[in-house]
């Protein structure tokens, strides 16, 4: 199980918001289009349901299956980048109360050793994505950094 694997990438951030706010920001396209490479997310967010991230033009960029949806504290999905021959990875978000704020931990697990160049894409992307999520929830504004290409283009 994913819990027993060593994560390849971990990113922790603390956010002055409720766990419900963070859950909504992770799962609703009204939020993701403002911090996630401009992409729209969609799913019913129940276990076994499909989920996907769509580029602004409507093309699917990432897709997978919801593995755990324990609103608002634990979301785990399989994660397959479209158009590349890579085994899917598992991305887990945990959202924990921490005093007056919440601690968001993102872990990315890969089932098999991966070309470091692919891992670098995630290591570069997650701080941008989750810094943008924090700014959006705390200030209602978009983090003004250039939107990088979606991961599959950046790594090719």
């Amino acid at each position: 199980m994913a819990e027993e694997m060593t994560p390849d990438t971990v990113y922790i951030t603390y956010i002055a918001a409720t766990a419900e706010d963070v859950w909504n920001a992770l799962t609703l396209e009204a939020f993701t289009k403002h911090y996630f490479f401009g992409m729209h997310i969609h799913s019913e967010w129940r276990e076994g349901a499909p989920w996907a991230l769509y580029k602004p033009g409507g093309e699917c960029a990432v897709s997978g299956t919801v593995l755990t949806a324990d609103r608002p504290h634990l979301l785990q999905v399989s994660w397959a980048v479209e158009g590349v021959d890579l085994p899917e990875c598992i991305v887990t978000y945990t959202i924990e109360p921490h005093g007056m704020v919440v601690k968001l931990t993102m872990t990315e697990h890969h089932p098999a050793p991966l070309d470091p160049a692919w891992l670098e894409g995630g290591k570069d992307g997650w701080p941008k994505i989750l810094s943008g999520l924090k700014t959006l929830l705390e200030t209602g504004q978009v983090l003004p950094i250039p939107m990088p290409s979606p991961p599959e283009e950046a790594a090719s």
Binding site: I12, T13, Y14, I15, A16, H98, G99, V101, P127, K128, S131, G132, K134, T135, E138, T139, Q141, L143, P144, I145, P146
Partner: protein
Amino acid sequence: MSAESDPDYVYVIYIKASREKVWAALTDREERAWWANTRHDTTFEKNAPLAFRRNGRVDVRGVIKEIDPPKKLVYTFRSEGPGPQHDEGDSLVTYDLAEDGDATKLTVLHTGFVKNSNLRNAISGGWPSVLSSLKTMLESGGRDNYTFGAMRKSA
């Protein structure tokens, strides 16, 4: 990285503030809530000693090794007691500040850990909370009333 040491630690955060403002906050010498009520006791000059003072004691001692405002700061970092991490000797912290759009990309690199380091375990929890607090402080117009760290003083 060798088998005799733990891997380097790196944390990257993007902050909606100018590089000068991020630099000014990181080299501030007042007690600040966002840094878990810590005061940086140093002149921030090359070869100057550095102490992190909090609640009347010193948590960290070091020496400024390199300073290039507003881009780069390097200092040695030795944890003072209590706790098992205090006798692991000097580690090294590097701040790198880069402009990215209208934001600043802040990279904190912490290196020089012993094998099975208690210090690395401690700072892996500490940097995300301190730097999350810094981002919130700067993006909320400089209000220093956010302390996200577990070490916060009860208010």
